[in-house]
């Protein structure tokens, strides 16, 4: 089975302000975007498990103009506070790379 890293063209992780983070998963080809989105492989339950959150805290949007899927979640630690490990959230995407895509 393909993994997300085999299909996506970019996975852009960043802060959404100091209290939230997001991942913009983009695809070169519209059919790849549609395949991944319609498969339901990227869903709140899975993302919650990968990031140790509850599913209600995870929002997922499709954005056809950019062949993109957007994941938004709260940060557990406010950006730049002493317990933060990644101030702008640039390297938190690794758990997404191996999501299996049917």
């Amino acid at each position: 089975m393909d993994r997300l890293r085999d299909i996506a063209n970019s996975i852009r992780g960043t802060n959404n302000g100091a209290t939230r983070r997001s991942f913009d998963i983009m695809f070169d080809r519209t059919e790849d975007f549609q395949r991944v989105w319609s498969s339901g492989a990227i869903n709140p339950e899975l993302i919650a498990e990968l990031y140790k959150l509850s599913a209600e805290d995870v929002s997922i949007y499709d954005y056809p103009p950019a062949n993109a899927i957007k994941i938004v979640m709260p940060r557990k630690v406010v950006s730049g506070s002493p317990d933060d490990t990644d101030v702008d959230g640039k390297q938190q995407h690794a758990p997404l790379l191996d999501i299996p895509i049917p």
């Binding site: 960043t14 302000g17 983009m26 938004v72 630690v77 950006s79 730049g80 506070s81 490990t85 690794a94």
Partner: protein, 459 residues
Amino acid sequence: MAEEDEELRMMAVGSIGAGFSYRAFQRGLSWNPHVVASDAGSSDHGAAHLGSGEVRSQGPMKRQLDTLISGARGIGAKFIIGSAGTAGGERNLQAVRKLVEEIARERDLHFRMALLHAEMDKNYLKKKLAADKIVSLGPFPVLTDEAIDASTPIVGMMGVEPFLKALDAGADVILGGRATDPAIFAGPPLAAGIPAGVAWHAARTMDKGVMMTVPGEETGSLGFMQFRMDHFIASSTKEGTYCTPRSVAAVTLYENDSPYHTIVPSGVIDTSGCVYEAVDDGKVKVTGSQFITAPKYTVKLEGSRFLGYRAITFFAVRDPMIMPYVDEWLAKVKVNAERNLHLQGVEPDEYTVRFRVYGKNGVMGEDEPVTQTQSHELGILVDAIGKTQSAANEAAARHKALAGHTKFPGQLNHNNASEPFPMGALPMGPVYDWGVWHIVEMDTWSEWEDIFDVEIVDV
């Protein structure tokens, strides 16, 4: 906007100080922009620059400001920045003003300049707090009069209104304090009569400069925008770079909760009905942009809170026998270091120490899914925050020293801490985090004039 010239043109630099291609800038100037603009700051890197008043990359910034202002004024274009000096506080703004005035003197440039002040009056905020007009945007300390007083300082993110006031006063150079990103770019098109939907959406699209272009950041290109009455056209100034419908559409996705909606103080940019189409020469035409005016004018507040002083140091371990025990071992190091510091008169309530274990979970912390590290070596950053700089320095240094001397089960060697070169603890100075991350609601639409002062200076 001149009548024969049915569009307003603007060129955007992503972030002053980060660098851009000089040739791409010159090529963009040859397309005759009416305005050169840049978002010169961000809160993405924490509260440090707001708290300290320091400006990131001040040296390169002067060089780049010089290029931008000389270039823009040379063709009669206006020059606009917002969130000046990284954080857009008063000290950040004044530092940038000083650079601009130096450049004007050195180049014998003369212009009308507007300074848009974003730092909030604390008595005003206390009144709004008492009137229940301030709402928290997350897990922040409860806002009190004391917390407002203790903040070092608090800025409001201005909308487009102060920029419009500055343009109306005839300013050719505008230095804005902390601003909502698209507001920095929306003033000139709105002043020229471009409908709000087009003006705001195009502004939002160019507020990251090069981001709307392909291949993207590494090219140092600049974003170029043509604002027209019922659409906008986005392009890229560096030879060989271009815009695609997807690269342009992807900007509203970035750092935003909803890909179709961007909130600014006066309303919401709605791109849900937009059509993005490729036109000739790697340009993209966008139609269908809407702007929905908000029922109330609201301003986001950002305030930094002083936490103490930081000192760091670093060491690494390579002993394979320590790997299974690293957490337990570091816990023991803390106990030993605490005792050692006590003997030196530095008590536990004067400092906190965090070990950041790179090779294990330094990047993701408790979210790290890999529970058993496969690394054969680990880099450990010792991060100490003290009530005084000296307490932080001692705490960091002693934690490293005691890591060297704290045993783990089966240890054969006599010291566990390797250093790449002799280093004590490095003092990092004051530490700030976000103490205020709130929204304040205005009672009337024009109340922004009470909090964002527009100062006109003839240079």
